[in-house]
């Protein structure tokens, strides 16, 4: 083998393999992890509120002014809420919203 062939085989091929692996790693994980939260980095996403049944939210986030204005019994059938548990819960729920509620408990922590 000439010098050029030797260099091509013993340096060129390893460099090519390294470049391919590098490109593969950055093409996939670089894109996927960009949204991930990392402590210390700024978190710029819009606030989200998760509920198993979004109808149970009274506030401004939900697009349901009907629930806050009047009684449940008149408004619920008119709305397009098919949820059974909501109706079952609404039967004993107070008509005037927001309901007065007692003291709250819970806990706080930081990281």
């Amino acid at each position: 083998m000439s010098i050029q062939q030797t260099v091509l085989v013993f340096a060129g091929i390893p460099i090519a393999v390294v470049a391919v692996v590098y490109a593969l790693v950055y093409a996939t994980s670089g894109r996927r992890n960009s949204k991930r939260y990392r402590p210390g980095r700024p978190f710029t996403f819009a606030p989200v509120w998760f509920l198993s049944a979004p109808e149970r939210l009274n506030g401004s986030v939900s697009s349901k002014p009907a629930l806050t204005s009047a009684g449940h019994h008149a408004e619920l059938p008119a709305g397009s809420t098919p949820a059974g548990p909501l109706l079952a819960q609404a039967a004993d729920a107070p008509a005037n919203q927001p309901a007065p509620h007692g003291e709250t408990g819970g806990a706080s922590d930081s990281w």
């Binding site: 939260y37 990392r38 996403f45 606030p47 109808e55 709250t104 408990g105 806990a107 990281w111």
Partner: protein
């Protein structure tokens, strides 16, 4: 509950642009549904900025739920690195503050590692387990 899933995915597509991947969203939804069904309480998770005072803002959000007395809110603010668990008056009898603190501790540990969805899911499971059956 399919109604919740659908409206979450279609009415609020902004959720998909958030920090959570689709599998994480599905796991979170499943954890919320299971917690609600097994305990009869209403669990919810808020992820976003909280105004100062943080505790007051979290309690205000909790008050916006339909039945605050029977609701549990996990308010997570990644920017401020603060986590608040708010339990209503009735929920508090089933989830004592000490248990809530324990759940908060494990959630904060997960958040410190950058795992928002995993921490929320395990915290929900812990709180639901503490609350027991309805």
């Amino acid at each position: 509950m399919t109604a919740g899933e659908q409206s979450k995915l279609t009415d609020r597509p902004g959720v998909l642009d958030g920090p959570f991947t689709t599998p994480q969203l599905l796991r979170l939804d499943e954890a919320l549904r299971q917690a609600d069904e097994s305990t009869g309480l209403t669990f919810s998770v808020y992820v976003g900025e909280l105004d100062e005072p943080v505790r007051g803002h979290a309690e205000k959000l909790h008050g916006q739920l339909e039945d605050p007395d029977r609701s549990v809110l996990l308010a997570i603010s990644p920017n401020q690195r603060v986590l608040e668990i708010v339990t209503g008056a009735l929920a508090r009898r089933r989830i004592p503050d000490r248990s809530a603190k324990l759940a908060a501790l494990s959630m904060a540990a997960a958040f410190g590692g950058g795992d928002l969805a995993g921490g929320a899911v395990s915290g929900l499971a812990q709180l639901a387990g503490q609350a027991g059956k309805s």
